[in-house]
């Protein structure tokens, strides 16, 4: 707590030097790990993004639903269209307070370009139980290229606070 002597610039001890070296090596390793996974890993954070507006994105979603709708399902008392886009094509999910629209029906092992955008606030796309979490912002069309590797019913939870009805915002992806 009190000021040190004038000359405190002394060489480090052996243990300090060893620990500093170990810690530095670990930090360098942590740094390398991210680009390594970027080139070799199968799970990377999507970066593809386009500017959009609520009107524009909303119109695209409606078009998409009309084109590929295969049925209807009810979540928390609200009836939503079930939409099955062909593998390899663009799929859309619209976030708004407090709904994920529509329900998607995908095929296991096939790739889809999933577009996410918000009509109003920030929302959080949280796919459970596979546990993939992405931020959804208004004005941004965020494209995640996904390949489901498991089948069943998956729930989309909103995990970014979007005012008091936030917890009721639940959607669905079906994988066959």
């Amino acid at each position: 707590m009190l000021a040190p002597e004038q000359n405190w610039w002394r060489p480090m001890g052996r243990l300090e030097k060893t620990w500093l070296t170990l810690a530095l090596v670990w930090c360098i390793f942590l740094t390398i790990m991210m680009p390594l996974w970027y080139y070799m890993g199968k799970q990377n954070v999507p970066t593809e993004t386009y500017r959009t507006t609520a009107q524009q994105f909303g119109a695209t979603v409606n078009e998409f639903v009309t084109k590929y709708q295969v049925g209807e399902e009810t979540i928390n008392g609200i009836t939503l269209p079930v939409v099955a886009p062909p593998p390899g094509s663009d799929a859309y999910i619209r976030a708004s307070a407090w709904q994920w629209y529509p329900i998607l029906q995908l095929e296991k092992g096939k790739e889809y370009r999933l577009h996410l955008s918000s009509m109003d606030y920030n929302h959080g796309f949280s796919l459970q139980p596979v546990n993939i979490n992405l931020q959804v912002l208004p004005g941004y069309d965020y494209v995640a290229t996904i390949t489901p590797t498991s089948s069943g019913d998956f729930t989309i939870v909103c995990n970014e606070y979007c005012f008091v009805g936030h917890h009721t915002m639940v959607g669905k992806i079906i994988v066959k």
Partner: protein
Amino acid sequence: MATLAPTTPWVKDAKDDYRTCPVLTLKVDMHAERLIIANAVMAVVVLAIGGLAALLIALTRWQAVHLLDATWFYRLLTLHGIDMLIAWMVFFEMAGLHFGSTVLLNARHAAPKAAWLGFIMMTVGGLMANVVVLLDPKNTVAYTAYMPLKASPLFYLSYILFAVGALIAVITFFINIVVAKREKRFEGSLPLVSFGFMTAAILATYTLLQGAAAVVPAFLWSLNILPHFDPGIYRNFFWGFGHPAQQVNLAAMISIWYALAQITIGIRPVNEKFSRLAFVLYLFFINLGSAHHLLVDPGLSFAWKAVNTSYAMYLAVLGSMMHAFSIPAAMEVALRAKGFRKGLFGWLRNAPWKEPGFAAMVISIIIFGWVGGVTGVVIGTEQVNMLVHNTMRLPGHFHATVVSGTTTAFMGLTYYLIPLIFRKELKLKKWATWQPYIFGGGMLLLSLGMIVSGLQGVSRRNWDITFAGVVPGTIELSLAVFGIGSILAVIGGIMFVTIVLTSILTGPRLEASKLLLVSGDGNPVLESTKLTEHDMEAKQNQPKGAFVLVLAFLAWFAIYYFTNWWLLGRTWFIR
């Protein structure tokens, strides 16, 4: 030890207003003393309010109890964030800054009027934020207030008032240091503790400026003066404030670790250069941490995220890992020098576990590093963040850092500020002995409960997760652990507030004659002995035990890190 300034008058031809602290034999400017007291009292007040909110929201998230309705849950969640993460921390840090720039330097407060202005603005801003959140349902926007969630203009105004007040107080810190140096109140380098506070103050300056870049446009937008502000840019600036603000806490906390270790077992930093270098690393790299919150945001490239999230090359993490060795090592050397040399850990067995400052410091270091630090680095790994973003692992991480770490350290230091600055005898000493263990133990359970829930996908800031319809029974269990931990921690918090208030309000006025509080009498460990060069260099005093401890830490770090990559590798393919 550096020479202290001779007792010349502080201001020529002016009446001095100071006392001499009998323990530290330093001059204490009464202006500084009053400022420290005012800031510390406000800190405890907002801690009490935020703590009550904490109990209610925790009992709501504990699914089996589910106390509040949704509106009150989100409202108190907003309040809890503001009072704890901003007000409690910043008020206490201001007390620390006034202390570190005057008392520890044997110097006067050079700008008390400005410092009072800052304090008043912070108080008005802080209280206003509480009132507008409680009264206007529009302001239930969480403390992050992400645009385009629109709060009332008063909400943003309260943030601005608080931040400008804090900025003014931080500026008086720099003025004090310059004046003290010029008036030769101390010679040579700043003491390490003040050096750490200096790091905190520099971080605070640009943190607050970035906060202005987010909140001022939001304020103008809420008044309909500014038509549009990009929500992504808001997030970037908000976290330019929100994340480095936690690093201000970090720098202040580490300074306090050094201070507590010195107060309770009389350490000397093993190598001043090593410890100071670690602070400098924070200064240069920690501001990049804003990116930690944007890792799964649209519109940002991999390169931008990877460089920023890793603090250029984990160099700020390196700083923390250096302190993680430096402080235990200094403790070990000091205790070995006092004769506890048996085996690798004989010094630990004989450490003063009943002294609250020591217990608080050790708990703070362990939970901060082993839980908070490790989970933080893992969350900040670009790809792994996809598994974690906005799940309960997030609050699990930062409750381990800011609460178990920073708050426990602040509480520990308060026990010594009461005799030194408030000049009151500490009351309820037995309580004080237990308080760090109860609070720390509760917080540890709370953090682990949150982390394990988050691993199972439970999202944060969510009134009722059962809506999701994907709730396995194990989540009920981890949320119960979280709930029980929160109750324990709140008991620890109530004990702390009670001890402080009882001491301040009912304790007799007392000039402290020694630093130790609880277990000092007749205990050779705690009798303050000065460490000589010989003690520091002697072969049998080398910190071998601390070295083994950090190796174990590194092993745990690696295990947790790789487990997360393994979990990521099991999920859907995504790019």
